[in-house]
């Protein structure tokens, strides 16, 4: 999946960044999303102020996509134990990019460590696949 997050500052300025990986232990009731420290400064700053977060996951070969919205419950530094998982996800993302013609070295070059782990309580789930059902609530 290609993952991206969006936030808004208290004065209404949106900001986003690419995410590296996501995990959910409870069928998307909660989710932990990993953001590269190098590129998530504005996003983490906004989360600290507003706690509101949107996450979009897209499968590039066919553009199927889903958007989760909710409230963040914690922001922490990803631990060394999680680093292997993040590296694995980056490599799988490279496989997907490779399938649509983008060299694997591009995904490998995406800065993914160190990273923040942002935990979010999922409150809304939307179909985001392009077409007439885009935006339809799934939960």
């Amino acid at each position: 999946m290609s993952l991206f997050v969006g936030t808004v500052s208290p004065d209404g300025l949106p900001a986003g960044c690419r995410a590296i990986a996501a995990t959910s232990p409870d069928q998307l009731k909660t989710i932990t999303i990993y953001l590269p420290m190098a590129t998530s400064r504005d996003v983490v700053s906004n989360i600290a102020s507003t706690k509101k977060l949107a996450i979009v996951g897209t499968y590039p070969p066919d553009h199927s996509a889903m958007q989760l919205k909710g409230t963040t419950t914690a922001v922490r530094l990803a631990t060394d134990d999680e680093r292997e998982f993040l590296t694995y996800r980056v490599e799988r993302f490279g496989d997907i990019l490779h399938a649509i013609g983008i060299p694997r070295r591009v995904a490998k070059a995406i800065n993914h460590w160190p990273a923040f782990a942002v935990e979010m309580k999922v409150e809304e789930v939307f179909d985001q696949t392009p077409g007439p059902n885009a935006g339809v609530s799934l939960r």
Binding site: L13, K52, A65, G101, I102, N111, T129, G131
Partner: protein, 448 residues
């Protein structure tokens, strides 16, 4: 540091999707992917509004938005803060964005569903490189415009112009143009289609760089990339064609049963396309199309050059089509007949379908088919081999339009189809407005 939009112009070619973040009045963010961000000028960009979605509603509540775009060569990302200004539902910007969407929609069988509702225009407040996104710099091996390259292309323009002026006939003109586009501009896969006024379809008259010539292949006005350019008369340049088509197919899949997909003429794995209408005044003469497997093949530079050349081609074609049959002129040398073992060939005319088959293989239809049938019948009954354009024009059974009959292009099409499918039968120009029918072996005629 704020960059100029011109410094990141590659990001606006639509090769890699961009990401847009907006917010509603309550401060809830929304993230969406867009296939292309259009650069309007140095300070403005536009996004296509195709569905009345959350992004569109958010912009009415909070005009501030944020975009991340990718350089398709280095994959470096850039972030833009933008402010929504207005929606345009007509005008040049709307038309140029719409033709691209309509073409993809037509090609994926989504006409009427996958369409541009509005071009949403934004003021760009800042552009910044996303520092730290990549741990290593990807090589930028894209071609730069050099003075030598410029000289080469200007020479190419001169050569094309001369070829058009010197061409003795339409066939020579079309072939010289495609050859020089390959030689001077590196356009290896090109085709020219001319409009048949009687059927209102585009017919492939010349091609270069394909395994089979495709001469005679037809495209309905409005169908696919080529047909849509003919309908709208707007130039179309698409990079990352594969991405656009999968996006369109996804919408079709989500929407359910739609009309069948129109096969794209030319390269089955084309990644970029540049399609330009051939127009004189307000008359559409045809379309010139170039394709490539490189998603970044055609830039603004190529678009500009091909547009200039297309205008010259249109004027040249128009001149050829209007040329009087009795006007003195030089006849283009006829290629030497290919040595063939004379075979007896059977031609079958299917009146209901208005087409001619040779030995059970489709040959040609409509007016060129009727012309061939007339020639073959008179050859069989009277042994005639010499014919004139004028007698074809006065023969009402052929159904040629009274004006703008495109007879020259129909004869070229017939000549080329015979060369490909039945070299034993040839149509050879002998003088201005006159030609001979040459037949090796025997012919049998069947009418059904």
């Amino acid at each position: 540091m704020t960059l100029q939009l011109s410094e990141i112009s590659r990001c606006f070619q639509g090769v890699v999707p961009s990401i847009v973040v907006t917010s509603d009045a309550n401060g809830t963010p929304n993230v969406t992917f867009v296939s292309q961000v259009h650069q309007v000028d140095d300070k403005h960009v536009a996004l296509s509004c195709q569905f009345f979605n959350k992004t569109r509603r958010n912009l009415d509540e909070n005009p501030r938005a944020w975009i991340e775009v990718h350089d398709p060569v280095t994959l470096q990302t850039f972030r833009m803060r933008i402010r929504f200004l207005r929606s345009e539902k007509s005008g040049p910007l709307f038309d140029s964005m719409s033709v691209r969407i309509q073409a993809i929609a037509s090609h994926t069988g989504m006409c009427g569903v996958f369409r541009l509702i509005a071009a949403d225009v934004f003021a760009v407040e800042s552009v910044e490189k996303n520092e730290g996104f990549l741990t290593e710099v990807m090589p930028d091996d894209s071609e730069q415009v050099s003075v030598e390259g410029l000289r080469h292309e200007v020479r190419g323009l001169q050569y094309v112009s001369e070829s058009i002026n010197r061409a003795a006939c339409l066939e020579a003109l079309l072939e010289a143009v495609l050859e020089s586009l390959d030689k001077y501009f590196g356009f290896e896969h090109t085709m020219i289609l001319l409009q048949d006024e009687s059927t209102k379809r585009l017919v492939t008259m010349a091609s270069r760089g394909y395994g089979v010539s495709g001469v005679g292949a037809e495209v309905a006005i409005g169908d696919g990339l080529i047909g849509m350019v003919a309908r709208t008369r707007h130039l179309l340049r698409i990079s990352g064609l594969h991405l656009e088509l999968t996006y369109g197919r996804t919408i079709r899949r989500e929407h359910g049963g739609m009309t069948p997909e129109v096969p794209l003429p030319g390269l089955p794995d084309a990644q970029s396309a540049l399609v330009i209408p051939l127009v004189v005044g307000d008359r559409l003469l045809g379309v010139i199309a170039a394709e490539d497997r490189d998603p970044m093949r055609f830039g603004e530079w190529d678009e500009t050059y091909l547009h200039v050349i297309a205008n010259q081609i249109a004027l040249g074609v128009d001149r050829m089509l209007e040329r009087d049959d009795d006007e003195p002129g030089v006849i283009a040398p006829t290629p030497a007949a290919v040595a063939v073992v004379p075979n007896r060939r059977t031609f079958t005319f299917y009146a209901n379908d208005d087409c001619v088959f040779v030995d059970d293989e489709y040959l040609i239809r409509n007016v060129p088919g009727r012309i061939l049938w007339k020639l073959l019948r008179e050859f069989r009954s009277d042994g005639r081999t010499e014919f004139s354009n004028r007698e074809l024009r006065v023969d009402e059974s052929l159904g040629l339009p009274a004006i703008k009959d495109n007879l020259e292009s129909r004869l070229i099409l017939l000549r080329k189809r015979l060369t490909e499918k039945c070299p034993e039968v040839r149509i050879v120009p002998t003088a201005r407005g006159r030609f001979a029918l040459q037949v090796d072996g025997g012919v049998e005629l069947v009418e059904r």
